[in-house]
């Protein structure tokens, strides 16, 4: 075999390799509907799990031949995925799951983001869960009064820009701890990581989403002091409102679905109705229960109103939300 033609073939194949790497062009037809739900994080996390559990039931309600495809678009702490949905054509084929209120503080603090959450076409809320204030079972602190009187406080959380750090800062502010300069030991990779850090004694207090924290409470490793929300989601644990901090009741975590701005009104109605039917499907409810989702469905209009409320709520705490560990 001579080398000449082989070298040419080598170059042709290389060109084909590059072509293969180019993203496929959008399907132009509306009938052949494959609906992507953009997950702005890598596979394996809570948002990924929620979408993968929900997708088949949503597809069933959208009609025959419709496929719902979970699509991970990680990057820039979720901002890349959010921007992908915001910029997509409003044809109903690109939707996304949003970390609320996690995406709100960057907009309030005036950071450059390529989307406006208030302009999105909200389809509905899937999950919502309250926070619980936790200490280690071996901690010397006994209750919320003890936390307020502690000589040193170190809050554990994920990194700057996460809902948990923002919520911890708001709690510290409301409890009157700000001038005592608590330490914010941020940067843990996930909720389980900082809760184990709390068990280990890296710090002495942390705010955890109720469902993730529950297993550490049941195993006797962590002690709950107070929960957010209007009624206690943990039997026997007082709410912040009952303890005299009503402004903390509204702190929670939501996972809501939205499409790009400017969606056709009829299309939005179709998507919202399919969403409501899917979340009421007994089979989905069973799957959600097995997957430990904190199912708390809300229709599209109410979800849009909730997003607007989050902006008002977090704007009131703007001064608490700057990065405590900024260099």
């Amino acid at each position: 075999m001579s080398l000449g033609p082989l070298r040419l073939r080598c170059l042709i194949l290389l060109t084909l390799a590059l072509v293969a790497c180019a993203p496929a062009a959008d399907e132009a037809t509306l009938d052949n509907a494959t609906v992507s739900i953009v997950i702005p994080y890598r596979p394996g996390g809570g948002f990924d799990r929620t979408v993968r559990a929900f997708a088949p039931y949503f597809a069933k309600q959208l009609g025959d031949g419709v496929t719902v495809l979970p699509e991970n678009v990680p990057g820039a702490g979720g901002r890349r995925g959010a921007a992908t949905v915001y910029r997509a054509r409003p044809d109903g084929k690109t939707l996304g799951i949003f970390n609320m209120p996690g995406f709100v503080p960057p907009e309030i603090l005036g950071e450059k983001v390529d989307y406006d959450l208030r302009e999105l076409s909200w389809i509905g809320r899937l999950e919502s869960q309250d926070y619980v204030l936790l200490i280690s079972a071996t901690s010397e602190l006994q209750d919320l009064q003890g936390v307020r009187a502690a000589a040193e406080l170190a809050f554990l959380s994920t990194g700057y820009g996460s809902s948990v750090l923002a919520a911890s800062q708001i709690v510290a502010g409301q409890l009157g701890l700000s001038d005592r300069e608590p330490i914010y030991l941020a940067g843990y990779a996930g909720t389980a990581d900082y809760l184990v850090g709390l068990i280990r004694g890296d710090g002495n207090v942390a705010l955890g989403p109720v469902s993730t924290s529950l297993k550490y409470i049941e195993s006797g490793d962590l002690r709950p002091l107070a929960v957010t929300g209007d009624g206690s989601s943990l039997p026997g644990v007082p709410t912040f409102t009952e303890l005299g901090y009503p402004d903390l009741a509204a702190l929670d975590l939501q996972r809501s679905i939205a499409g790009p701005p400017g969606m056709d009104a009829q299309l939005l109605v179709t998507l919202r109705e399919a969403f409501l039917r899917a979340v009421a499907d007994p089979e989905f409810i069973k799957t959600a229960r097995n997957a430990r989702l904190d199912l708390s469905p809300l229709d599209g209009a109410a979800t849009a109103a909730e997003v607007a409320q989050s902006f008002t709520y977090y704007a009131a705490f703007k001064t608490n939300l700057t990065n405590p560990n900024a260099l």
């Binding site: 080598c10 290389l14 702490g77 890349r80 330490i183 389980a192 900024a326």
Partner: protein
Amino acid sequence: MLDSLLAAAAYLAQGVNLGYLALGVAVGIVFGSIPGLGGATAIALLLPLTFGMEPEQAIILMGGIMGAVSIGGSVSAILLNTPGTAPNAATCIDGYPLTRQGKAGLAIGAAATASSVGGILSLAILVMVLPVARTIVLWFGPPAFFMLAVLGLTSLTVASSNLLRGLIAACIGLFFGFVGYDDIGGTDRYTLGIDFLWDGISIVPLLIGLFAIAEMMNLYRAGGPISQSDDGATVRVVGTVDGIKAVFANPRTLASGSVIGAVIGMVPGVGGTVASFLSYSFAAQTSKNNENFGAGDVRGVIAPEAANNAKDGGALIPTLAFGIPGSAEMAIFLGVLILHGIDPGPMLLIERESTIFMLILALLFATIISGTLILVAARHLARIAHIDSLVLIPCVITVSLVGAYALHNAVGDVFVAAFFGVLGFLMIRLEYPRITLVIAFVLSSLMERNFIQSMIMFEGNWLRFFGDTTTLVLFFLTLFALSIPLLKFMRTRRAAQ
């Protein structure tokens, strides 16, 4: 305990369940051997399939994948100098030189056997350690993690044949590791205003570039097939059986690799890449007659391969006991467990003993089955090394670039792979160790994040690093690693006198 084990074995032995195991193994080998795909992608893709299954069946399927991936990945590392998965990168160091000498059969035989035995040993370690798993995970706070990263970096740099070039390569690795958003300080670094770089550079396209693409560029320059042995018969003569024998002829390398793999696997967030590199450098430093390491010593294949299958047993500990994934695959596997109503955490070890044994058995059999399959196929696989480079290069580059793109569906990753391809090619030409760059890259974020967290905990007083037993032990191990070249030098001088 024995009842749970027997119940799990009986369940696994049912026909349909063995079918799921076989499917998992087949998918694992294929996804493991194609750079860029890997176990995490395979688990994510098969996840919807498990919706209709019993939780235990889903675990068997996923166990099949996890047990087979790293064995699949070792084949491309040995034959093409292209690690199928990140932990296989250390296998390239001695596996590929063996292929070039026409001894691919030997290397594949050794890799498959070492992987299987390493996997089995680590599962034995897992069963023994499970009762004290909690304590071990609780030993590692931010200061201990930081010191572990320092130990990893020190021992690897010291293992470089040329210390200065090793240090430079490590610095380049650290530099690229710091690209991206620092979520403690809240600043973005070296992102050049590109959103894609916010999450930093991914390890997979980096490895694809440094190894697969760089190696193909080098092969294009040299021409001819990978194997430099003209005698096609060599592949048959120096075959797989010698590889199997080599593993059992080096029990010390095998045992140390398995133990290092299992122990490092237990430390969440460190993962198999560090485990296999540490195991390699330990073998290269402490073996007798070690002058051939890096040029085709079969012990250089045994050590990392034993470690990278052994790490799965170890990585299950933080995953099951606390719900903290020890590796990328474990992160997605955690999702599978939760979707099926199994919530990893402190209660799981007590409440669902038989489920855990099911997973252990699935991993065990997957390791054995995939190892056997690779051994049977080794002779045919080894022929790849005799294909003309002008046919091989476009194939490997196509698969590599598609793999880089497929990881996150991001074109940026293709550019990252191409960039590191050129850098890797320059490093081959100028004889800089690419491995040291990779390990520094992997350890950079672990080291930085835990250093900053420790300093926040210690309120700026760095002396408090030495107030913790685990950290202190790791510190003395670092000092020991640093003293090895000095001890060797003194010994050579004494021998000369």
